[in-house]
């Protein structure tokens, strides 16, 4: 809930819910998720192709297709239109009222976590974020 300044003239409605914007944090997470998903889809396709047992092949194929579907789903959040409309709405609301922005500084960086999990899994040492980026 955002406090309304008594000196303000306009009675701009306070936002009841977070507008549909892509925050600076969101973009970092979405980038990482897209990278993981693309790699997972490719790996599944590769393994499915190598599989001897048809039920194994089918199962892995299904998983891979799911990852690709998820990629498209998350990518759609980066399409400008909806984000832009919500940003305008948000800007208008924040101009009228004083807002306190909550900062979450104690969160672990997503890519670091992904790195740690990947290195645990595969035994590789990856020190930079860019190594998970698709080509």
């Amino acid at each position: 809930m955002m406090p309304q300044m008594s000196t303000m003239e306009n009675s701009s409605p306070t936002m009841s819910t977070v507008p549909q914007i892509i925050s600076t944090k969101d973009i970092q997470y979405v980038k990482d998720q897209l990278s993981w998903l693309l790699l997972a889809a490719k790996k599944c396709a590769h393994f499915a192709n190598e599989s001897q047992d048809p039920s194994v092949r089918q199962a892995i194929e299904r998983v891979g297709q799911m990852h690709q579907r998820h990629y498209t789903k998350l990518l759609s959040h980066l399409n400008g239109q909806t984000a832009q409309a919500a940003t305008t709405q948000a800007t208008q609301a924040t101009q009228a009222t004083q807002t306190t922005q909550t900062t979450q500084t104690t969160q672990t960086m997503p890519s670091t976590q992904a790195m740690q999990m990947q290195s645990t899994q595969s035994g590789q040492n990856q020190s930079s974020r860019s190594s998970t980026q698709p080509q």
Partner: protein, 115 residues
């Protein structure tokens, strides 16, 4: 005296064991995909917590749930093929834990609602 633990598993399917050499076999591939789903659900779980707005939250949550299910399907397939063994906990041990935690319910802060 501890009871002998019962092993729960299907007979091992051929395609996983056919090649027990340095090359990846079907069992290895499923194992790796399962591990992938596990690490993905961990990562998506963090991402879903950090989503700024509801639409993104809902979408990432759905991705998380479907990824969980995918891992589950792989796990079930591995069990079906005899590539996953479980051990059943003896009933005596289960009973002991049940009694212990049944007693702890005396610490409930809220009144119990009986159906």
């Amino acid at each position: 005296m501890p009871a002998t633990k019962q092993k729960i598993a299907n007979p091992e399917s051929a395609s996983g064991t056919m090649q027990k050499g340095p090359e990846l076999n079907d069992r290895d591939r499923l194992n790796d995909i399962l591990a992938t789903e596990k690490y993905l659900t961990d990562s998506f779980n963090v991402a879903v917590r950090e989503a700024s707005h509801d639409q993104l939250f809902q979408d990432v949550l759905q991705v998380l749930q479907e990824t969980h299910q995918a891992g589950r399907d792989v796990y079930n397939l591995m069990f079906q093929k005899g590539w996953y063994t479980l051990e059943a906990e003896p009933q005596t041990e289960i009973d002991q834990v049940q009694q212990q935690f049944q007693a702890y319910s005396s610490q409930f802060p809220y009144p119990s609602t009986l159906q």
